[in-house]
Symmetry: C2
Subunit: 367 residues, 2 copies
């Protein structure tokens, strides 16, 4: 299936006391016994995946896990954000209970962010918590869901409104799985990679600029570095603020505007990463107005976002609609919109902004 690897897997340790775990990153990891060693002992495993990923990778993962667990069950969910709801989550509980799974059963999330969110919340809640392992098969999930322990489902009145902070026992990022990823989703994942430059690491921003073509060509070495460095930066930030009370909010750079785009167009119209890419352009322009960065920096990051295949102009929802949507965002506090702004390249802060300046940014960033 996969070409022989020349490189040993990379590893990032997420230090969270007795909930510490490792992210393993490399090509061909799915089939390697070493990827699954030393996981919590259990009689059974349940693989949660979806109808798109199952035909590609389910049997390979099952084969690898069968050497380790007496029984390997699976549940194949319909694919799509619109299924990230209670009814679909309940199919995981149905599977666990109908197979008589006990509280040591290990859940494996094989797929993108939606599968990871649902399998993670199911693991957090089943018998008040069973171990789970993330096996992300999209770039977005590899760089974003690997660290932070966020799990959730949607409610008809809001996205990700019901969930838990729950840490995996391990994350295994097999870069070979990115070969089957649609180009649009690769770009969406790159949005979250690019994000780490402006908020935390100018040198990484330089590296992404120099390697954007290799990333778009899915070269494993370039992908490995991008995933590893993204996870490292996120781990540094999350390690200082596991429950998202303060600093961690900088990871939402581009997300306040991005969520408004997603909600305004109807979820699923744009991919999350596309909305974040465009949202970063807006957040950069707001940062410039607030005196954080200069026009050259805004232009440079905007150009990189465009090269990654992401939109840089938002939909014309009207400024008042954007403001209304941002005021009901989960991160708003008592109706005040919180923006992540760049104070200088590599440093971000969370703050409010005058509505008029937000309106100006929206006027020049949408059509």
């Amino acid at each position: 299936m996969s070409a022989p690897r020349s490189e040993p897997p990379q590893q990032v340790r997420i230090a969270l006391g007795d909930r510490s775990y490792h992210i393993r990153i490399g090509a061909g990891l799915l089939d390697e016994a070493a990827s699954w060693d030393a996981l919590p002992p259990a009689a059974a495993a349940l693989v949660v995946t979806n109808t798109t990923v199952a035909p590609l990778y389910l049997e390979r993962l099952r084969a690898a896990l069968t050497t380790r667990y007496r029984a390997v069950f699976d549940v194949v969910l319909p694919d799509g954000e619109e299924y990230k709801d209670w009814a679909t989550l309940n199919r995981i509980f149905d599977a666990l209970l109908s197979h008589g799974c006990d509280r040591k059963t290990v859940l494996f999330a094989l797929g993108g962010g939606v599968v990871g969110d649902m399998a993670g919340f199911a693991a957090a809640s089943y018998m008040r918590g069973v171990p789970f392992v993330q096996v992300p098969t999209t770039l977005l999930a590899q760089v974003d869901s690997s660290v932070g322990g966020k799990t959730a489902i949607n409610h008809p009145l809001g996205k990700n409104m019901i969930g838990a902070f729950y840490q995996p026992a391990r994350v295994v990022c097999d870069l070979d799985t990115l070969r089957t990823l649609p180009a649009r989703e690769l770009s969406a994942g790159l949005a979250e990679v690019i994000k780490y430059g402006p908020i935390a690491d100018p040198a990484f921003l330089d590296w992404i600029e120099a390697n954007i073509d290799a990333l778009l060509a899915r070269e494993p070495q370039a992908l490995a570095h991008a995933v590893k460095r993204s996870c490292e930066i996120k781990a540094e930030v999350v390690g200082q603020d596991e429950r998202e009370s303060g600093l961690r909010a900088i990871l939402n750079f581009g997300h306040t505007f991005g969520h408004a785009i997603e909600a305004g167009l109807g979820y699923g119209e744009w991919l999350h990463g596309e909305a974040v890419g465009c949202g970063m352009v807006m957040a950069l322009r707001l940062s410039q107005r607030l005196g954080g960065v200069d026009a050259a920096f805004v232009q440079r990051v905007t150009a990189l976002i465009a090269r990654a295949g992401l939109p840089t102009v938002g939909p014309a929802l009207g400024a008042e609609r954007y403001l209304e949507l941002m005021r009901v965002d989960k991160k708003a506090e008592a109706g005040e919109i919180r923006f992540v702004v760049i104070e200088r390249p590599g440093q971000a802060a969370v703050r409010a902004a005058p509505d008029d300046q937000v309106r100006e940014v929206l006027a020049e960033s949408t059509r």
Copy 2:
């Protein structure tokens, strides 16, 4: 509403690092501003209660909270274990989202164990966690739900299968609310009080025997001591084992048999405390067979359980049905039933037992 108190409230501190909290125990606490001081600051509070408790205590709690929160919302759920499901839980999320509640909103659980379990799980899950306060209005909830952080809803295939370990910010036990409790529920609560004697504290067992009439007469001083000592013992056990990996299982004394009674008869036929009362008699007889306690001790505790108004003879489901039900219990591991047995008065252990001895116990304890 309440008689003037001569006693200051009792307080038990639950030490759990940055999740430590206090249990306040006394008569008339509902109306006292001091009961609600120093809770996490928030714009809004949501009181979760049910159709039985709301007419009795909702307005009093609302009045007390209105001095502290700008907005006090409520959601009144149907009363009964059969509503401890996702659909009813979702009514709490609907209320939170339709009122635009942010992630600092404090949830108050006003009611018995079902309300506490659902409000607690809603608080654990809403935006991945908001603060919550338990205001238990049954004896069972005061001694059992106050400590341990267990929250859950039922699944059609099993009780309490979906939930979280989530600690309250405070527990306020107003003993006056026990005046409206039906006698059968008072007895059910006493089962969990009596439990702490055999597993942890022979002196407390002596005290309960000496004060059982005062407890049945709902004398506040006796109730205060019973609630306080029960919470202290549970806190000691839970403090050593927050996630229920080992020691904490001794709190399930009487529960393995009890759950089989509940499941075998259909949930709701016997109250949980009634099943636990009878289950303790069975567990004591099993302990005697395993050499832990003598016949006199079994007789003595059985007599106390009967004086508390609890059943001491189980329904005739048949031994094989009992065994089958106990094997699928959440606490079973790979199909092996785990019993809490008394090793000597005041000390319990979790262990397996030969099926034949269990059958003998069931034969003499059911009809």
